[in-house]
């Protein structure tokens, strides 16, 4: 039994070390990059919109769930707020709501690159702690399934 616990602990340490190695942010960037790849591989503009919209909605949902947790710090809550706001802006632009002109069909591939690049340099992600990022990643995995 003790051996099992020790082995289990070791495996858990390895699993935790993997996202820690990437800083936790790599997985979020990869998530948007995967969505962009799907958009570019799709011909139909309405399907492209669906992919983009769905990816951002899923991320927002995960962020709201994490924000509801009592265990996150104030700094993380602020980072998540900004992250949600940035995603909402992009969703608005995609749909042409809240003062935005709708992203034209022929620019959807470029828009998917914009989402990836904006997230890569987003300072709001940088301020979110590793533990909270891991929580977000886990929730996204669960929500996508």
């Amino acid at each position: 039994m003790t051996t099992r616990i020790a082995l289990g602990s070791f495996v858990m340490m390895l699993l935790l070390a993997l996202p820690a190695h990437a800083g936790g942010k790599g997985e979020l960037q990869q998530y948007f990059n995967n969505a962009a790849n799907k958009v570019k591989a799709t011909v139909n503009p309405s399907e492209k919109r669906d992919i983009l919209n769905q990816s951002m909605q899923t991320m927002s949902k995960a962020l709201v769930m994490v924000q509801g947790s009592t265990s996150i710090s104030k700094d993380d809550a602020v980072g998540i707020d900004l992250f949600i706001a940035a995603l909402q802006e992009k969703q608005d632009e995609l749909a042409g709501t809240n003062g935005y002109v709708r992203v034209p069909d022929e620019q959807l591939n470029a828009f998917s690159n914009y989402v990836v690049q904006d997230m890569e340099q987003a300072d709001q992600i940088i301020t979110i702690s590793l533990i909270t990022l891991l929580l977000i990643i886990i929730l996204i995995v669960l929500l996508v399934r």
Binding site: M13, A17, H21, A22, G23, G24, K25, G26, Q29, Q30, N33, N34, A36, N37, K40, K74, D75, V78, G79, D81, L82, E89, K90, E93, G99, Y100, V101, V103, Q107, A110, F111, N113, Y114, V116, Q117, D118, E120, Q121, D123, Q124, I126, T127
Partner: protein, 388 residues
């Protein structure tokens, strides 16, 4: 009769000694397994084919963070490693230069126990790699002490006129706070002041390098340029976000040809223009690259010093200054900064983001400031996009 415990008590120090020796041997063995085996411990300037250098380049790459980016085909790149590869290429392509490359890596442990070196140093002269060592980064304050020590150990002692360049690749260097900048040492703050303090060690007798390239986000604030201006004649920086593909380094190859005339000002503008062209090719977010003639921007910096200082003091004084209450903006959006001297000594290459609220912004002053969130509409003087 012998006390049964006395043997174990007496043997305890021997056991500890035995364990210590085994640990030391294991550590040595593990260290020997490190992939970072020095190519050459000492530079040999006197060896055949190694001459004095006309150009000196110091490149510090902060790779201790999440530096991933994707190209438009979805391929993933580690930004710091791409920058490192670029710096090595520059070093190999410069027969008349000495190049110091410091790659600051994340702190890692072997088997969760044995710390590994968190810095790699490369020294090239005349296009040849003369030294490659792993080193320990600062454990306490962030003043580049280990890097400066290596620089002083290897730099060429020649009397030829040398054009000096300093390049820094990393995240935005904070103007205040600074905790968490270094992912491996999150409690150790790193600010513009720390950065400037570290620069002193790299400036030789002339006190200022000829050109500093600050390849970070938001490097063009009056405070940052003012603080770093004490150590450089010209500075290239980005006022806004700089995508992690960073500034293109190709312009630094063959300095013996591109900088033969010694015109650092002209060279800086060509470098900035090429970096701008490279970024705008693939990047959908905003791209801004600016060149500062440090002597010529002093008048503007002195004019806005008190205003900017007041802003920083206010934010520093807040119990919890955070990105929730403040944000970056073009200084031209704040009336106090719109002065006749604002554009003097600054060359700006700017293209707005292809999407988002600022996609119709036509130009950038080259100076980045802070404002409270929500004051955007009230203070904006630039042509804001009419989105519909």
């Amino acid at each position: 009769m012998r006390d049964p415990h006395s043997r174990s008590v007496r043997s305890a120090p021997y056991s500890m000694l035995f364990v210590s020796v085994r640990c030391a041997a294991l550590t040595l063995l593990l260290s020997a397994c490190s992939a970072d085996i020095p190519v050459q411990r000492e530079a040999q300037p006197a060896e055949q084919g190694v001459y004095a250098a006309s150009y000196s380049i110091v490149c510090v790459i902060h790779g201790d963070g999440d530096y991933l980016y994707h190209d438009t085909s979805g391929n993933e790149y580690k930004a710091d490693e791409e920058a490192l590869a670029g710096a090595k290429r520059v070093a190999l392509q410069n027969p008349d230069a000495e190049v110091f490359i410091f790659h600051q890596k994340p702190r890692r442990h072997l088997l969760f126990l044995f710390p590994l070196h968190d810095g790699d140093f490369y020294y090239y002269r005349n296009g040849r790699l003369l030294a490659n060592e792993s080193y320990w980064r600062d454990q306490e304050q962030s003043h580049f002490d280990p890097e400066v020590a290596l620089y002083r150990r290897f730099r060429a002692e020649n009397h030829r006129e040398t054009v000096s360049l300093f390049l820094y690749y990393g995240h935005e260097i904070p103007e205040f706070g600074g905790a968490g900048y270094d992912a491996s040492y999150p409690d150790r703050p790193f600010t513009v002041q720390d950065f400037a303090g570290g620069l002193q060690g790299f400036t030789r007798d002339s006190a200022r390098v000829d050109l500093m390239v600050l390849s970070t986000c938001f490097g063009s604030t009056p405070y940052t340029i003012g603080a770093l201006g004490s150590f450089a004649r010209y500075i290239i920086a980005s006022p806004e976000n700089l995508h992690l593909s960073y500034f293109d380094l190709h312009s630094l190859e063959r300095l013996d040809l591109s900088l033969r005339d010694g015109d650092v000002s002209g060279f800086a503008k060509r470098f900035a223009h090429q970096a701008f062209e490279r970024l705008t090719r693939d990047i959908q977010t905003s791209v801004s690259v600016a060149v500062y003639d440090v002597d010529r921007v002093q008048e503007f910096l002195q004019s806005v010093h008190s205003v900017y200082d007041h802003t920083l003091t206010t934010f520093k004084g807040e119990t919890q200054p955070s990105m929730a209450t403040i944000e970056h903006c073009d200084c031209a959006d704040i009336p106090a900064y719109v002065l006749p001297t604002m554009n003097k000594g600054v060359d700006v290459f700017y293209r707005s983001a292809r999407f988002g609220r600022s996609k119709l912004k036509q130009n950038h002053s080259g100076w980045e400031c802070w404002r409270e969130r929500g004051l955007h509409a009230a203070t904006s003087q630039t042509t804001e996009p009419v989105l519909k």
